[in-house]
């Protein structure tokens, strides 16, 4: 029996612990400095918005951990002694392991802006950020205006959060259009309009120059790089992406006790088996960096789902069934105010779009629903789909991607993939008509068939 120590109780670490327990009798300890119990980070926004209480974000009741013999240890790991196989906590405590897993997640990026550490400047990533926001922006009397810097998924969530308490928001986005590094132009522009319709002061092509302080060291205003404009505000949200949370490894390098240090780049470098440069030490989730990218994926994937998949995979390796991390077809989801977004396979925005990738785009007249299907311009091979305001079935697209279906097939059988609640209006006919017009085809949309839906790939 080995003692497996997992640093970090996010989705990666907890998934790993659960699967190790399913497959072995190893002793398991999860270490966290952030919270006593696992919670869903993606749900923090709903606590501020009043949809949930913090305890609702915890997927397991407190008895779960004891029942499954998963030890929870609260503490901050200061450094690691890889020769003695020991962790050293910030309170000086030493703690031994047989196998060690880093699942320490991300931290918000800061780019050395003047004033970036003032009171009232925060990310929206940790439980502590939520507490901080509750303190500085409980309502629109205390917080007259908030400025959000960085146009990604967390930025728009923070905008929605503040908006729910009627706090005016200025949203600074460096790019020419929201999240256009990922989304195709038409989709990105639709989201721009949706943001503005929700009364957010969206500033595209705009960078932050500095954050100004009042006499108490609190945020007073921000200065815009391009125009020099000063916007007074009480809260600044820094949401310009995240990077691996691995600062404590630096301490290990400078520590007096000699021990081999772990190879890092931006994250902790791992091979396909999620093994680091030192035996019996692994890294999963946001803090791990693949030495070589897998397919079209980034080397660091800071996504809920990939963290979970790495946890599922590494549990096999740790329990004796050494297995490569081979994620299946890419998928992801998000919600932009009222518009749900799902993606299956690869659909690229303007940047980084391969020359062979063609797009078919359809948008509903309400400007809140659209889809983009990516396909190979020579072979018609279906590459991926982005869908906004229409829910689609994961299993169906996973199957079609595995079966290497052509785009015509996807359009023809699109009704099988619809996952909207019953009685919702369906748009397959409209979509097919537009596809036929643009491509000179004569596809007829097929009715949904249970038989096809439930036949597995």
């Amino acid at each position: 029996m080995e003692h497996i120590v997992i640093i970090g109780n996010g989705i990666s670490g907890v998934t790993l612990a659960r699967h190790i327990r399913k497959n072995s009798a190893n002793e398991i300890t999860i270490v966290s400095a952030e919270s006593d119990y696992f919670f869903s980070r993606t749900a923090l926004m709903y606590v501020y918005m009043g949809h949930l209480k913090f305890e609702h974000t915890q997927p397991y009741e407190p008895w779960f951990w004891m029942k499954n013999r998963i030890n929870l240890k609260k503490g901050y790991v200061d450094r690691i002694n890889t020769s003695k196989k020991q962790l050293v906590f910030s309170n000086g405590e030493h703690f031994s392991y047989d196998k060690l897993v880093f699942a320490t997640g991300s931290k918000p990026n800061k780019f050395g802006w003047p004033g970036q550490d003032l009171d009232g400047v925060m990310g929206m990533y940790h439980k502590q950020d939520l507490e901080n926001l509750e303190k500085h922006a409980p309502n629109n009397q205390v917080c007259k205006r908030a400025v959000i810097v960085g146009g990604g998924l967390i930025g728009i969530e923070l905008a929605e959060m503040l908006h729910s308490r009627n706090i005016p928001v200025t949203f600074l986005v460096r790019e020419a259009s929201f999240w256009n590094g990922v989304l195709p132009t038409a989709e990105s522009e639709m989201i721009n309009r949706h943001i503005i319709n929700n009364h957010i002061d969206l500033r595209l092509n705009t960078n932050l120059k500095e954050i100004k302080s009042d006499e108490n060291g609190c945020v007073k205003s921000v200065i815009i790089e391009e125009t020099g404009e000063e916007i007074s505000c009480n809260v600044v949200g820094l949401t310009a992406g995240v990077s691996p949370n691995i600062d404590f490894l630096e301490n290990s390098k400078t520590s007096a006790e000699p021990s081999r240090s772990i190879d890092t780049n931006n994250g902790i470098l791992v091979n396909r088996f999620l093994e680091t440069s030192i035996k019996d030490i692994y890294a999963i989730g946001d803090c791990a960096e693949q030495r070589e990218a897998i397919g079209n994926r980034r080397v660091i994937e800071a996504v809920w789902y990939t963290g979970r998949m790495m946890g599922e995979t590494l549990a096999q390796t740790i329990c004796g069934n050494r297995i490569e991390y081979k994620p299946g077809h890419w998928f992801n989801s998000a919600k932009f105010f009222d518009i749900e977004y799902q993606t299956y396979g690869w659909v690229f925005g303007e940047k980084g779009r391969p020359a062979y990738e063609n797009h078919f785009h359809w948008k509903h007249k309400d400007d809140a629903k659209c889809i983009t299907i990516a396909y190979h311009k020579d072979t018609n091979l279906f590459l991926g789909i982005n869908t906004f305001g229409i829910r689609m079935r994961h299993e169906i697209f996973d199957k079609w991607l595995t079966e290497k279906r052509a785009v015509n097939y996807v359009v023809e059988y699109l009704a099988d993939a619809n996952f909207d609640p019953e009685f919702y209006s369906l748009y397959e006919k409209e979509i097919t008509t537009k596809f036929n017009q643009e491509n000179g085809t004569s596809i007829e949309s097929r009715k949904k068939s249970w038989k096809r839906i439930f036949t597995r790939a």
Partner: protein, 540 residues
């Protein structure tokens, strides 16, 4: 908009206060001719009751309903005490014949019911003289106020979509003092309605004209309840329509419960009564309709000719065939959240409180014991009732038929379904009765769990464990526990309200009826991971 909303709130509170205040108005007394005709109609054998009642209520004093009630109940007690004393004496003398004779002189039924019936004749005062005006000041102001409070949400809530903003930040929906006040009001309301109807006799006056139009008779407390039920559902349904206006499933479902409540539960029985038929709610299935097989109902149906027999057959077919067959095809939602009256109130009035159902494992354990016990209780009661009905005996299996009927009616029918079931909405959630107590739900649950095409499909690996689905599940199902494992939700208690699907920010849940094969799909490794790994682990 906010001003309209606040004005609406004030109007509503005024209407509610006047409505509640009417209880204390009016004076109650009878003339001797009124009392004589009442007593002779009742065919009381007691030699004391007429005298006692005369002393009590034939008066020039201006009695309030409370004084009136005390006097009537006292008269009732004096009369019964007298004969009880005689019974005890003849019992001591072992004079069985004499003892037996005394029972016919006793008065049966609840003292408050006698008081209610007399008060219905005895009332005088401003309400009876101005029913129209009182209706406007109570129901009218309440409806107008509530609508003014609700309609501005169309703009205030912003664009269509899930807007649960602030649910846990407000005293009304986060078990704050407002929620407790609502609980006290609702519980008091049900206690009066079930156990002290005479105290609220003034409410029945307000609705007498409407009752006369519909069924030809004066309004009883049950007419008040039925009318109020419909009004509350109508008003709160507008709230549902606004809140879920982006979701057609919710719109259609709300319309359906509204239709079945107003037409089936309210109008049809009233109209049947006016046609001298037994008033029957054609959608109310046994064993939720627990007194369907009570002797008085069977007698009434047998004596009502063709329509009575039809109702008898329909009631049996509904429970034995229609209900399970529909559950097979659509899940128990077709009944619980599309048709049922209890469900209808829970889905309209109760919607603001749906997040309070307990999601813990312990609550689930309690639920399974309790609801199946109530089902068992109702079946035993019905068995005893039917046996004694057809054999003419008093008891079966050592259980007295009258005792078990009374016990069930009191504990389950009144306390559990009414006082607790609805009264506790603001603190324990809107489906306390449906989840822990309803015997019909337990029966439908068996069918849904073991033989049905209904499931809530989980969309592959898309769940982010946020917990909105579990939090807003009124039946206390930990939906997320399934969704985050990529597993479909197949649970006997699910009433298919569809809110989990509506509040999911990632489009993970869909209520659907599909093939039974593969409906329950336990997975270890979620969709999206290595195909070989999924194959290896999930099919092990």
């Amino acid at each position: 908009m906010k001003i309209i909303k606040q004005a609406g709130f004030v109007l509503f509170i005024i209407g509610l206060s006047i409505f509640s205040g009417t209880i204390f108005t009016g004076s109650f007394s009878l003339t001797s001719s009124e009392l004589n005709s009442f007593v002779s109609e009742k065919d009381y054998k007691s030699e004391l009751i007429l005298d006692e009642l005369s002393k009590a209520v034939i008066t020039t004093e201006e009695l309030t309903i409370f004084e009136f009630s005390t006097r009537v109940r006292n008269a009732y007690k004096v009369s019964n005490d007298y004969y009880d004393a005689l019974i005890a004496r003849f019992d001591a003398d072992k004079n069985w014949d004499k003892k037996g004779e005394q029972y016919q002189f006793k008065i049966y039924g609840k003292p408050h019911t006698l008081s209610f019936e007399l008060a219905k004749i005895a009332g005088k005062g401003p309400i009876i003289e101005n029913t129209g005006l009182t209706w406007f000041l109570t129901f009218g102001l309440g409806i107008i106020g509530a609508l003014l409070f609700i309609l501005p949400n169309l703009i205030l809530l912003g664009k269509a979509g899930i807007k649960n903003n602030g649910v846990y930040l407000e005293a009304s929906t986060n078990r704050g003092f407002i929620a407790w006040l609502v609980l006290v009001y609702l519980v008091s309301f049900y206690l009066l309605l079930y156990f002290m109807p005479d105290y609220v006799v003034n409410w029945t006056y307000i609705l007498d004209p409407i009752s006369k139009t519909l069924n030809g008779g004066l309004a009883s407390q049950w007419f008040v309840y039925g009318f109020l039920y419909c009004i509350i559902m109508l008003v709160m349904a507008t709230r549902m329509y606004i809140k879920y206006r982006h979701n057609k499933y919710q719109i259609i479902r709300t319309t359906s419960v509204l239709f079945f409540q107003i037409v089936f539960a309210f109008l049809i029985p009233e109209i049947m009564t006016s046609l001298n038929m037994p008033g029957y709610d054609f959608k109310n299935a046994f064993p939720l309709d627990y007194d369907f097989f009570f002797d008085w109902n069977l007698d009434s149906l047998r004596n009502s000719g063709g329509i009575g027999i039809f109702i008898l057959v329909w009631g049996i077919v509904l429970t034995l065939i229609i209900v399970p067959v529909m559950v097979y095809f659509f899940g128990k939602r077709w009944y619980c959240s599309w048709v049922c009256g209890c469900g209808g109130l829970a889905e309209t009035l109760g919607d603001p409180y749906r997040q309070h159902s307990d999601k813990s494992l312990n609550a689930w354990k309690l639920e399974r014991w309790l609801i199946h016990f109530v089902l068992f209780f109702s079946l035993v009661m019905t068995l005893v009732t039917l046996y004694t009905y057809f054999t003419g005996t008093d008891s079966f299996l050592g259980i007295n038929s009258q005792w078990i009927k009374d016990t069930y009616s009191f504990l389950i029918g009144a306390w559990f379904a009414g006082v607790i079931g609805t009264g506790f909405y603001p603190i324990f959630g809107n489906r306390v009765w449906c989840r822990f107590g309803c015997p019909l739900a337990a029966y439908l649950g068996f069918v849904q769990r073991f033989k049905s095409r209904f499931r809530i499909t989980t969309n592959g690996g898309q769940c982010i464990s946020c917990g909105n689905c579990s939090t807003y599940c009124e039946q206390g199902i930990d939906v997320r526990a399934y969704a985050q494992k990529g597993e479909n939700i197949v649970r006997s208690s699910c009433v298919g309200c569809g809110i989990c699907s509506a509040v999911c920010p990632r489009g993970v849940l869909k209520l659907e009826n599909g093939p039974e094969n593969g409906r329950i799909n336990p997975t270890d490794i979620l969709l999206g991971n290595d195909i070989d790994l999924m194959e290896l682990i999930n099919n092990k």
